[in-house]
């Protein structure tokens, strides 16, 4: 497909235009000064010189708390039943996520795969299918980024709707889907076709970015060693001592999908079923009636997390459960994190 150029001074006018027809979710400065993904009120909210947001935009598809349905009426306490029923609050607007990083978008591609296994998760896909993704590739990887090793960045080759490369005063614009193509065609007056020199400049920018990575890990080697049980139990034991059971690593992770289902009573004969994020590092995650817990020991839970991401998920549907975003590196209180554990295993 043909590539395009968007001048930086046209970016805000484009966003303003898009905001008339879509809800725009973009990196903005949050209350505490951190850069976070949020719906914008004006194009001037958008911050595009950010490294990455503290949380991935996962919550716009899989919210931390979400009502699956609510109920109302006598029906649930008395017979004979009449009238009432269950209401599903799921409504979505057409949305654009502007400025999502390739690693985080790869997290979405991962969830696309997972949530479609056996049964489709209609809550996730209703939001997902209503969203268009405009990626912003990474010219300057951070200290803890290892998307290059994960094959999820710093730029993607496919899968996105639109991908932008920063060429100083311009963005190089690549189209990756029909949705992306239609959007560019509809707003074609903001873009012009890229020249051959600009195409070359884009390739050079990508190469340069790839050379800047400090963190490098070997996913295949690690998975092989884990599968062959070549990892000493002492490693998991040591990590277990450091793990604080906080679940932070799962909450910040773009690919962690586990959830809990709970009922909330909101009034007389009224209530709702909600789902909330959960984490396999919590001891209650597997505890069963009668107190039996197959993963009672913290060691087994920590081990589970890494086996799930590095061995089981690739086996189950061919994708790593880690996109190399580096968030768990900065989040973990006990300094347990994906690249560190991988280096230990690679030794």
């Amino acid at each position: 497909m043909r590539d395009w150029i968007l001048y930086k001074e046209h970016t805000f006018p484009l966003i303003r235009r898009l905001n008339k027809h879509f809800e725009i979710i973009a990196p903005v400065e949050g209350k505490g000064g951190d850069i976070v993904f949020d719906p914008i009120t004006s194009e001037h909210d958008v911050v595009l010189d950010f490294t990455n947001t503290i949380m991935p935009p996962k919550r716009f598809f899989f919210p931390q708390f979400e009502t699956l349905f609510s109920w109302k009426g006598k029906e649930f306490t008395l017979a004979p039943p009449r009238g009432a029923g269950l209401t599903v609050p799921l409504k979505t607007k057409r949305r654009i996520i502007f400025g999502i990083r390739p690693c985080d978008f790869s997290g979405i591609l991962f969830l696309d795969g997972y949530y479609a296994l056996a049964y489709e998760d209609n809550y996730y896909f209703t939001r997902r299918n209503n969203t268009l993704f405009i990626l912003l590739g990474c010219n300057e990887p951070q200290e803890h980024c290892f998307c290059l090793s994960a094959g999820t960045g710093p730029f993607l080759k496919r899968g996105f709707d639109i991908q932008l490369t920063d060429l100083k005063d311009r963005y190089y614009v690549q189209i990756g889907s029909r949705k992306g193509k239609e959007l560019i065609e509809r707003y074609d007056y903001f873009f012009r076709p890229a020249s051959r020199e600009e195409k070359e400049e884009n390739i050079q920018t990508v190469r340069e970015a790839e050379r800047k990575f400090k963190e490098e890990v070997d996913f295949d080697l690690v998975a092989k060693k884990m599968e062959n049980e070549e990892v000493p139990e002492s490693l998991w034991q040591e990590l277990a001592v450091r793990c604080q059971n906080c679940g932070g690593c799962s909450y910040v992770c773009p690919t962690c999908f586990c959830f809990n289902l709970i009922d909330r009573v909101t009034g007389k004969e009224e209530g709702k079923r909600m789902r909330t994020w959960d984490s396999c590092t919590f001891s209650g995650y597997t505890r069963m009636a009668g107190g039996y817990n197959p993963r009672e020991e913290k060691k087994d839970r920590v081990k589970r997390r890494f086996y799930h991401k590095l061995v089981y998920e690739p086996q189950q549907f061919g994708m790593h459960g880690c996109v190399g975003c580096g968030r768990c590196v900065t989040t973990c209180l006990g300094n347990i994190n994906m690249p560190r554990v991988m280096h230990e295993i690679m030794k």
């Binding site: 306490t77 056996a118 049964y119 809990n260 289902l261």
Partner: protein
Amino acid sequence: MKNIYLPQLGKIKRVQKETSDVKTFTLAPLRGAGFTFFLKEKIKFIPGQFLEISVFGTGEAPFSISSSPTQKDLQISIKDVGSVTSALHNLRKGQVIGLRGPFGNGFPIKDIRGYDILFVGGGIGLAPLRSLINYILDKRKNFERIIILYGAKNPEELVFKDELKGWERRKDVELLVTVDEGDGKWKRNVGVVTTLFEKIKVNPKKAFAFVCGPPVMIPFVIEGLVKIGLKDERIFANLERYMKCGVGKCGHCNIGPKYTCLDGPVFSYKEIKGLSKEF
């Protein structure tokens, strides 16, 4: 797209007390002729599959269907152990529940025709086995011997007491019951369920075995079956895991790379053997 989390509304049609803390509930749709099940085949569900039952306001929990698809009634048998189960125990005839499913793989009913079938159950673990037992009894001529070994803590804790009597009377069913602790009136075997193995003769080449019971029981029973000479792929166990969604999404039921709610809850010993020590 189907909403996989939205239950169908149902009501309690009948409640039957089994023991001091186990009740069997017969379920009926709130309105209309029947529940809409995911399965499109002739059969409504496969014995061994489970339902996610909601008590709105308390929550949802998985329960094996304890009736056979060959019977008219849809039943679940529940031991009161916590919040959802005790809320269910408090429901009376006519009250409303939610139902999702049936989920899970169920027993391999197509592969076992023409074989001897050995059931080993402990406590409430007889519930899913009952579905298969009654299914087989309704198609009795397709199977050879039917041997049922069942154990409970004490005589009071035996579930489906009337049905046990019925099976005992049948000439084409070999039923052996045991309790860990007898009372004055108990005249049968005393001891854990594995002590019954000495009392039966099984031809391992002709048999399939199905095991369901508390997590501590399963490894011992499997060990006994392997000793008798049953092949790993002919031994099946129902694994219980903490489950939330039942549809392979919430992650809770995972054992190694498997999801108990999708790949199970019925696993052959061959499959679980490889799943580390977790089961």
